[in-house]
Structures are given as C-alpha cells and as structure tokens.
Amino acid sequence: MNWLKVMTLTTAMTVTSAMAEVAVIVHPSNAATVDQAEITRLFTGRGTTFNNGSKATPLNLAESAPARGEFDSKVLSKSSSQMKAYWSKLVFTGKGTPPKELTSDAEMKAAVAADAAAIGYIDAAAVDGTVKVLAKF
C-alpha cells in the first residue's frame, strides 16, 4: 500500500511541476553565453569553465525544490534518480564531486548574486534584477 502511495505522489508532483519554467541564472556581471550542451557539461562535472574561459561553479537545487526535477528532466534529460546514480559512480570512485546544493529559489538567487563564477537555476517566476538569465527551459 505504501509503495502505491509513493508512486501516486511522485506522479502527482511530476504533473504539477511540469507547468513551471526553469531559468538558468548567473551573476549580472557574467558576460558568458551558454547553450544546453554547455549547461549539461557543467552540471555533470565534465567542464569547469564558461565558453569565455572564466571559472564556472555550478550550484544545484536540493531535490525538495520543485525546479530541481524540472531542470534534471528538461535540461539534463535525466530523472533525478538517474542523476543520483550518475553522481554515485563518480563520488565513490574519486572522480568527481556533485555541485553544492541549495534548498530554495531564494537561497539560490542570493548565492548566484554573490558569486561572479556561479551558475544556477530557479523557477522562472522567481527571477529578479539581482541575477542575469542566460536561458529558459
């Protein structure tokens, strides 16, 4: 019975969050441009710099944040479980460290606004002048 509940809940969450748009954000002073492939590279630990050569620090939202699932599926084309399996392989073989996680859109905005190297994402509705939007998905 519990298993059934988990499944129903997951399905319900997927449906509601499918409405939201995700905005990929950087510090307002950041002049780099990114496409989906580059974002994927940065968030899978395969790249550490923007296309202009400056250092990039990806920041992730925690799984409890609605935009996380959206980002994983729309931008990285993976489920959050697949991303967890991917990072498990790297973490436990000393080949990589997953991006630091922040718990909310507000925290993410504050972190990106404070760090010229940061790249993160939030619900597009939460964007304001403290951050610069590079792409929307």
Partner: protein, 356 residues
Amino acid sequence: MKKVLLVTAIAALCSHSVQAEVNISGFASVMGGKLTSGTGVPEFGLGPTFLANYPTVGVYEDEWTFKPDSKFGLQMTADLTEGLTATVQLVGRGADDFEAGFEWAYVSYELNEHWTIQAGKKRLPLYYYSDFFDVSYAYLWVRPAADNYTWQIFNYTGVNAQFNYQLGDWAMSGNLYTGREDDGENKLLSEFFGSTPIREIWKDIIGGVLSFNRDWLDLRFTYMTYENQRYRDGVPVLWNGKDTRRGNFAGFSANIDYNNWLLLSEVNRLTLDGGDFDTYLISAGYRIEQWTPYISYADFDSEGEVHSTTSVGVRWDFHSSAAFKFQFDDVTDDGFNGGQVAGDSKAITLGIDLVF
C-alpha cells in the same frame, strides 16, 4: 547524498585553529536470495551453489541468505582546500560477516582543471564496473555478472593520474595508474579454489583507462599489465620454472542510454602466461517511469573454465535515493578437465540499494 559536517579542531592552548570541511556519504545494499536449483560439482564435493561474487566468495545455497550481496559503505572526504582532499571509504560486506575495512584511502590533488593526481589505496579499474562494484545503486542489476568479475585481486596501492578534456561534442576522460597489491591470504584462492593459504601478489601494475562520452553514448578502453607472484603455504608457486608470470589485460566497453533504452556491453581478454581468459557481457533494459526491466548475458571462456550467466530482472526506483531490485540468474558451467567452478545453478535475489 552528502551531508556536510564542519569539523573544527581547536587547539586549546592558543588561538590557532584548523578547519576542514568533511563530506560524509555512503551506500548500502540489503539483498537476500536463494538457489532454486543447482548441480554443484560432485567431483569437488561441492553442493549446489550459485557463486554470485568470486573475489569475496559470495555464495547462495538452498537456504535464504542475506550475506553475498549485502554491504555497507561509508565515505569521508576532508577538503583541505586549494585542490587537496583526503578520502577514506570503509566497506563492510556480508560475505565477510560485515567486518569493515578500508577499501579506499587516498589523497587527491587537483593540479589544474584537467588533471588530478591521487595516491594511496584504490580499486583496480579493470572492467567497466570494477571500481564501483560495491555501489550497486549506480548500476542496473543486483550485481555485475560474476562471470566477468572473477579476478581475485581488486585493489591496489599506488599512484593514479586522472584527466578530463572536452573534444568538440565529446567528453574525454581517463586515468593512468601504477602500483601493487600483496594479499596475505587471498580469499578466493585460499577458500574457494583451494584449502591452503595462498598469498597473491600483483606487482609492477601499470594501467590506463580512456573514456569517450557523448550524449547517449559511452565508450571505454582499458589496459593493464602486471606481474603475478604466488605463495602456497609460504612456498613460491612456479610457472614453467619461474616464480613470476606476466598478465596483460585489455577491454572495451560500449554503453548506450537512448530514449529510455539501455544497451550495455563489455568485452575483455586477460592473457596470462600465454593463456587467454575471455569475458564478455551484454545487457538491455527499458525504462518505464520508475521501472526498468532488464536482461543480461555474461560469459567466461578459457582453457577448461567455461561458464555463462543469463539474468532477467527489474529495477524499481521507488525512492529518490533507493532502488528495489529483483533478479533471476541461470548459470551454466561447461568447465572440463577439472575446470568447473560451481556447477549449473538457478537463483533469485531481491532487495534494496541506496545511497546517501
């Protein structure tokens, strides 16, 4: 998956203080299973047995057991800043009665954005799944097929240099390593393939891995050469009158994850003292939301030792950090001239893998 602890060591006598951020993460598998049928090997006096894990001698028999595939791992990484980290990984396996030991213990230094140097004890990255064999959550099945992962040595102590480059749309990564392993009483050789204590040494290990990754395609090449030395009850084992022999290992793996289809494969050859030990594995799965049913076939072939495993199963990602798995394995042992391992067997295994 990671909990961050701020460990603060404060020297009480003066104002001097040291801070290191320590990341703690871990993995666990609780798997139970039993044989549904098996022949054993009457000429060795071995009853019906499914040898699920060669190096740790994880065996399923007629009664339910949780030991062969259950394990707990705890990893701690201290970030000493400026690219320097120290990592230990403690693993307790049911096959060893959960006696935990340091499976990994190394320091790592990031030279630049492309290269990282590591030194210490690590897993040998021979086959595709060798270095994350214990982290079952990271792969599809209950375990990578035993027919491929048969080698008695799976760690080494030495130096490893790993790299990461972007070549157009391809991500290229890999590593070069050298080191040795001296296993005072090797479990597989001493307990399963014999009854006298065997000290197994793999020395002058030199190896490399090269991976290419693009969207849904993952290609991996692996090579390793080493010198084998062995002592049976303290007496050197001789091969053609010499107390050492050279082994050369080469492998290729291609994996595809496309439109919810998973196609996994690897093919490997170890040439040891002129003899070839050939292994391959093919597997297919299809992802339907949280469910991934799969099939796999794995094969081992050398002079006299010939066996294969056909597996069917399902992975269910019922939780964001845990997966339930159920698997049925059918082993065929066609060994001859004393080359049998554990006879034919059929077995079921089910349980949960998780990471934190």
